[in-house]
């Protein structure tokens, strides 16, 4: 079985929070802060089709009296399990290099989909991955510092700051979660 794309997981996560039609999903993606994902019908309807083929979601046409034709999608038990599997797998350095967007998506759905314990585990896993990655980045920066032009050096610093900011957020999120569990 082929792997599910990031858009696929984003859709699966949204459906798990609230059954929706393709059009509903488009609205979510086009409204701010989820703009990273495409709101184009040419992306969403095929993605829904693939998820349905894989047995992760099921669509049912609504036939209310005066209602427009509208297909509501819901995750199947298999879809819910797959979503949880994706969310709870450990964070790797590759996940970080890829930009952290996927991790954030996993985190955003983790509470409703996998529960607070799993959420905390995800955060700890992220912290561990960052703790492993940051020193390597610093070493690389020290090596590059002398020979690169100013703009290259600053660009690298931007990346490092980004990861450091992510680390601070992670620790803040862990604290918040641990406080709310008491």
């Amino acid at each position: 079985m082929k792997e599910t794309s990031r858009l696929g997981y984003a859709i699966l996560g949204l459906l798990q929070m609230k059954p929706s039609s393709g059009y509903d999903l488009r609205k979510v993606f086009s409204s701010t802060s989820m703009k990273t994902y495409s709101d184009s019908p040419g992306a969403i309807y095929p993605a829904l089709g693939r998820l349905e083929e894989q047995g992760l979601v099921r669509g049912t046409v609504e036939e209310g009296s005066g209602l427009r034709r509208r297909q509501m999608f819901r995750p199947t038990p298999k879809g819910i399990a797959e979503l949880r599997r994706w969310i709870t797998r450990p964070v790797t350095v590759d996940d970080l290099v890829a930009g952290g967007q996927e991790i954030l998506l996993r985190f955003a759905f983790s509470e409703t989909s996998a529960g607070p314990v799993a959420t905390l585990q995800l955060l700890k896993s992220l912290e561990a991955a960052l703790q492993a990655y940051l020193p390597a980045l610093h070493r690389e920066f020290d090596a590059l510092k002398t020979k690169a032009p100013t703009s290259g050096r600053l660009a690298f610093e931007c990346g490092i700051r980004g990861y450091e900011s992510l680390m601070k957020w992670t620790q803040y999120a862990i604290t918040t979660y641990e406080a709310s569990r008491k």
Copy 2:
């Protein structure tokens, strides 16, 4: 003429700093911190081919005595002009939403390709875009704060912190640049 992809500009920028073969480029992309871009031959060689078709680079086969067959690529004048055009165009909010990776790439090449004045302009443009975007993000956060679950709220905060960190870096970079110009 079709638009050049991000990978295309990354290649163009690297070639402008140092003429390279496809294999050289793969090594740059596979070695740390440029891992965002694909180091697979199936991405790089076609990308080089497209750039050559568009007249932005030119490849010449090296025929040194005992050397292996090796094609070195260099940007053409047209390629250099196109790179500068891409670097110097103003930063939009859409650029920010897309994740800021493209902006960073533009910045990384800006000094060698467009000069320090253009680099400073790019940074100022980025600052302006952030100044326009951050208040909107905060408003959206306030609206979402009450109804979203903890994980959703925290995920949003992560995004905001990222942009704030980027803003601080931008201001730091501007200061650095202005100081070095004196």
